[in-house]
Symmetry: C2
């Protein structure tokens, strides 16, 4: 796809819709899957490797790895530069799901249409699988990243550590807010900024840094990722109400019955959807200056509001 440089910004933003995201994801998702499959060995003690692999390879959109790679390529880096970090991001995401699903936390039995990790392996192994993925992800980035300056790798480690810390903070406030129907907008935003946006931001930012981002690039990628992070969470909340359990691959409607704070409860569904669309527009505007190279990230932003699960 070639774009004329005379096109205006709004024409560029509009043309993101013509980017074939379906074909792009159909190429990228299996590529990420195959690296994830190779990232964790089958070895003694089999229980824990089996447990980590069970959740890491249970499917999912692989959105974080794909964002990381796309941001790296946006700035002229290669898929190979970003792949170890991309896999580490999915390890982090997976570990947070395993721990969130535990009986001591959200007590979920189904995830991505399959029994949750602790339902298969028991609580102890599920806790340790999460710990193992978290620790291993850091080692993996350091030992596998090639052809990237070490100051960039070190900065990626710092960003990943911070994002995982944020995930923990978000989950804490989420747990503490459960059963409280009068949760403030401020608290809800805190939860989502930490629990969801932080890792999406880290995905985009770490990819950008591996690709050689300047300060200006970092600022633009941060605006992009902050906006899609919040839009993502708003849509998640809407889907929890409107989609079926089959579509989601997890229990639907759980947020409503658990008195969990959500955007639709605060704003209603229609206003929530409008807010999400606006955030996506702002995300796309932040990276429009990169021209054609921004098309994948723009199409992914659109996909976030259009998705059905």
């Amino acid at each position: 796809m070639v774009m004329s440089s005379e096109k205006t910004s709004s024409q560029r933003v509009a043309s993101a819709a013509s980017f074939d995201l379906k074909a792009y994801l159909a190429e990228r998702q299996p590529m990420v899957e195959s690296f994830l499959d190779l990232s964790l060995p089958h070895q003694y003690p089999e229980t824990i490797y089996g447990s980590m692999r069970y959740s890491l390879l249970a499917g999912g959109k692989r959105l974080r790895p794909i964002l990381c790679i796309a941001a790296c390529e946006l700035l002229g880096g290669s898929i190979a530069n970003a792949m170890p970090t991309a896999c580490a991001l999915e390890m982090f995401h997976t570990m947070s799901l395993i721990h969130d699903d535990l009986p001591a936390m959200d007590n979920d039995d189904v995830r991505r249409g399959k029994p949750t990790n602790h339902k298969v392996y028991g609580d102890a192994i599920a806790i340790l699988a999460g710990d193992g993925l978290l620790a291993y992800a850091f080692e993996y980035v350091v030992s596998k990243t090639q052809d990237v300056a070490i100051d960039r790798i070190l900065e990626v480690i710092r960003i990943l550590g911070r994002a995982m810390g944020d995930l923990v903070l978000g989950q804490v406030v989420d747990l503490e807010s459960e059963g409280n129907p009068d949760i403030s907008m401020e608290t809800l935003t805190y939860i989502h900024n930490h629990k969801t946006s932080a890792l999406l931001e880290a995905s985009v930012l770490s990819g950008g840094i591996l690709g050689g981002a300047s300060e200006g690039d970092r600022a633009r990628l941060l605006t992009y990722s902050k906006n899609i992070g919040l839009a993502f969470q708003i849509i998640d909340d809407i889907l929890d109400i409107t989609a079926t359990s089959e579509e989601l691959g997890k229990s639907a409607g759980k947020d409503l019955t658990s008195e969990k704070a959500t955007y639709p409860k605060l704003w209603g569904i229609e206003e929530s959807r409008r807010q999400a669309n606006e955030l996506v527009s702002e995300a796309k505007a932040a990276i429009v200056s990169y021209g054609d190279r921004a098309l994948p990230l723009m199409a992914i932003a659109d996909y976030i509001t259009a998705r059905k699960n």
Copy 2:
């Protein structure tokens, strides 16, 4: 303390006994405590920071930080070079204790003479406190380490990630071996190499690397640390039988009642103590060539077999 260069190796080893370890630890332990205290803020959400601080600042020997700093100084590095990594090692150690104590794992109510983390904060927060300490430790090393070449910091991150992964593997095999009275020597060694030695080794090795270790230095530090790691675990097993709960600050005799595999059960107490003493001698011999600068590490090795808790 000045040693004549004409002394033989065995004289040097013997003279480690005259090093005033008590005064050394009386200086180093509060120094480490004060940096640990500063490492974690009091901030929102208070529950999780309170929970992390509760366990991180619950006392303990601070053996891992002290080993890290001593190894760094052995090779000409400074206390400041090693301190962020030293604190991170204590965060890792603390997180492993918090998770090991959970009802789903060893189900311990008392640790260092105080109620365990989950007894005070509940299982969910205890799990998240462990996750938070693990993630934060990596960020902390990257953002706080100063005046050390970045390739060394990156290597330290790799070593820390590997050691934390090993801790998880050791705990898995430990859990799987519980209730099995016929556990093999090989399995017992695997558990201790991963669950105890790995982090002690990482403490010494990371300190050495921050201090500028050559390949030869690394090999010597590895021999030292592997030996003290195993000796440490043997003495732990002996103390579980011979010490009182008051001395240990945790439930004594638990290994015997839980049918957990231990060295004293395999070898008897006397042979176990002989093996530990031999390992300590080998550890000291590995670093004797560093002369006076090795005195702290030698004295710490002696302390491991002499300790009462």
